[in-house]
Amino acid sequence: MSNVAVLSRLQFDAHTRVIDVDDGFTMDQVAAACAAPAVGYQTSHPDPSKPLRVRRTTDDDTAPTLPRDLTVKAAGFTHFECIDVFVE
């Protein structure tokens, strides 16, 4: 298990954040790690009735949403991968 530092933008959060994730984390676990320092501190959950999903950040926000059980390793996240964490 090794760490990857991802750069997260959580939906409606004012800050982008540096989040350490394990390469064995699923996207659900990545999303939780990204939400943890933000929700209830400086932002609210975008919609608590829905799960937080993950996709790579692109200029036009059109990257595919990654499967919830996909691991960081399988997704191919590398150091300073930029990801969106959001509700669909």
Binding site: L7, A14, T16, A36, Y41, Q42, T43, S44, F80, F86
Partner: protein
């Protein structure tokens, strides 16, 4: 018979160019230090400064100015002003002196580079006065806060800040090293004298001076006004440089230099001036909003100055206008949340009346920045102050060194603009900071932000405690706390609807 008028001899004192014989001209004026634009010396010799001064006049006028500034200070020292001042106002002073004192002094070298390496003799003389001015500004802005270190240890940062690796001073030093310490003399003049001093210092000096006077701090208000009176004289050095460059086919180069420097300095100055103006001064003492100041003293004037010298508005002007409505709000929020990393005590300062004012000055504030503060205010009002202390790290821009943030709440604007270069990922807050990187990657590629240092062993292990220590927090002084111990939240108890 009276003494000669300055005009009788002034031109002789600036006829000091000669043709070198014992060393080649290219060695006397190397490109990297002097002029990389290849402009003929005869062209540089047309440099003419609108504001002329002689050494004799200089020492006399400056002596009087200092006598005035120092005597105001001495008089007010007896008044216990600072002992009784609003802690948020003291934070403004801590932030200002820490960022500015050694920065002013650093600019002595920028002007000295022009004195040595400009091919325009007039410019060499004017830069000599500029060098003296910056010495004044560095020394007076150390002398004035020195007494305050006996009041509060955070004032030690007035001298120490730029010797630390605090993220805020890294932001300052990175920008200043870029625009005024590591450029050839001509580019330094474009970036420092024109873009920085002509373009931006007005808002700092005029706005700050007015607000300080409103607070009753005549020592500081007077000091800043006095400093700004020097600024007008040496800031003028950049204008003839641009005119000569344009006349010699170097308009694009001049434009780019100005564009780079204006943005870089803007990103730092917005924090130094915008945050106090819109959040720290008590509501009844606020002269204008930061946006209003920027529009009146920077945008209108700078646009005119650009036109006058023959340049265009920077290509990113729309981004800049948007940034005026965004950047300092985000950083007030972020710096307050990560207040233990800085050397002053910011205030949240956001009671209901303050929010109304912000909504009026920045329509939509409550739906964006306001939502951020709603979470904080809720935590404070429900006995969870520890949740207002940020955990983790924000992403940091590889150019401006400032956390990458943007409007949130009901919109989702925060994003990283990334650039991959030679196998490494660089993160930027805006398209503009990324564009600056693209103008000269070799210049920027080796630098590590605080976040980079967390992952390349420089801060090891990168625990919160180690990061704080690395940045000088808890070393030079304690880190920041809320200046008012959250007293500003009490306003919501009186009007519960306002917090919704």
């Amino acid at each position: 018979m009276a003494l000669l008028d300055r005009s009788a001899w002034y031109n002789i004192a600036r006829s000091t160019n000669w043709t070198p014989k014992y060393v080649p001209e290219s060695e006397l004026f190397p490109k990297d230090q002097s002029d990389p634009y290849g402009i003929p010396t005869a062209e540089w010799e047309t440099f003419d400064e609108p504001y002329k001064v002689s050494y004799r006049e200089y020492v006399s006028v400056q002596r009087e100015k200092d006598a005035g500034a120092y005597s105001v200070k001495a008089a007010l020292m007896r008044s216990n002003y600072y002992e009784n001042a609003d802690p948020a106002y003291l934070s403004l002073l801590k932030m200002h002196y820490g960022a500015i004192a050694l920065s002013e002094y650093a600019a002595c070298q920028s002007d000295a580079r022009m004195t040595r390496f400009s091919k325009a003799p007039s410019m060499r003389n004017m830069a000599t006065f500029g060098m003296l001015d910056e010495l004044r500004h560095g020394q007076i802005q150390l002398y004035f806060p020195h007494q305050l270190v006996t009041l509060d240890r955070q004032f030690d940062w007035a001298h120490e800040a730029h010797h630390t690796r605090n993220w805020a001073t890294l932001a300052g030093r990175h920008a200043l090293d870029d625009v005024m310490m590591t450029r050839d003399a001509m580019t330094t003049s474009l970036m420092l004298n024109f873009a920085f001093e002509t373009g931006l210092t007005n808002v700092q000096m005029i706005g700050l001076s007015a607000d300080a006077a409103n607070m009753g701090d005549y020592t500081f208000s007077n000091l800043i006004t006095s400093i700004q009176s020097d600024e007008a004289r040496h800031a003028q050095i950049g204008t003839p440089v641009i005119e000569i460059m344009i006349r010699n086919g170097k308009k694009a180069e001049a434009q780019q230099a100005v564009d780079v420097a204006f943005w870089r300095i803007w990103r730092v100055f917005a924090l130094l001036t915008g945050i106090p103006m819109d959040y720290w001064f008590p509501l009844e003492k606020r002269d204008r909003s930061f946006k209003e100041y920027m529009h009146e003293f920077v945008i209108t004037q700078f646009e005119r100055q650009l036109r006058d010298v023959g340049l265009e508005r920077p290509w990113y002007w729309e981004h800049f206008l948007d940034d005026i409505e965004t950047h300092h709000h985000c950083q007030q929020a972020g710096i307050w949340s990560w207040r233990n990393t800085v050397w002053w005590n910011p205030t949240g300062g956001l009671g209901p009346a303050e929010r109304d004012w912000l909504e009026q000055k920045y329509p939509g504030w409550n739906a964006t920045h306001g939502k951020y503060w709603d979470v904080i205010i809720d935590n404070l009002r429900n006995g969870r102050p520890e949740k207002t202390e940020a955990v983790g790290m924000p992403a940091i821009c590889n150019m401006c060194q400032i956390p990458i943030s943007n409007k949130g709440g009901t919109v989702w604007k925060a994003r990283i603009y990334q650039r991959e270069y030679e196998g490494r990922r660089y993160n930027f807050c805006t398209l503009v900071c990324r564009w600056v990187f693209d103008t000269d990657p070799v210049r920027y590629k080796d630098w590590d932000t605080i976040v980079d240092r967390m992952y390349n062993g420089q801060i090891s292990p990168p625990t919160a405690e180690n990061i704080l220590r690395y940045m000088g927090s808890g070393v030079v002084s304690k880190g920041g706390r809320d200046a008012h111990d959250y007293a500003w939240v009490k306003g919501y108890d009186r009007s519960p609807q306002a917090a919704e």
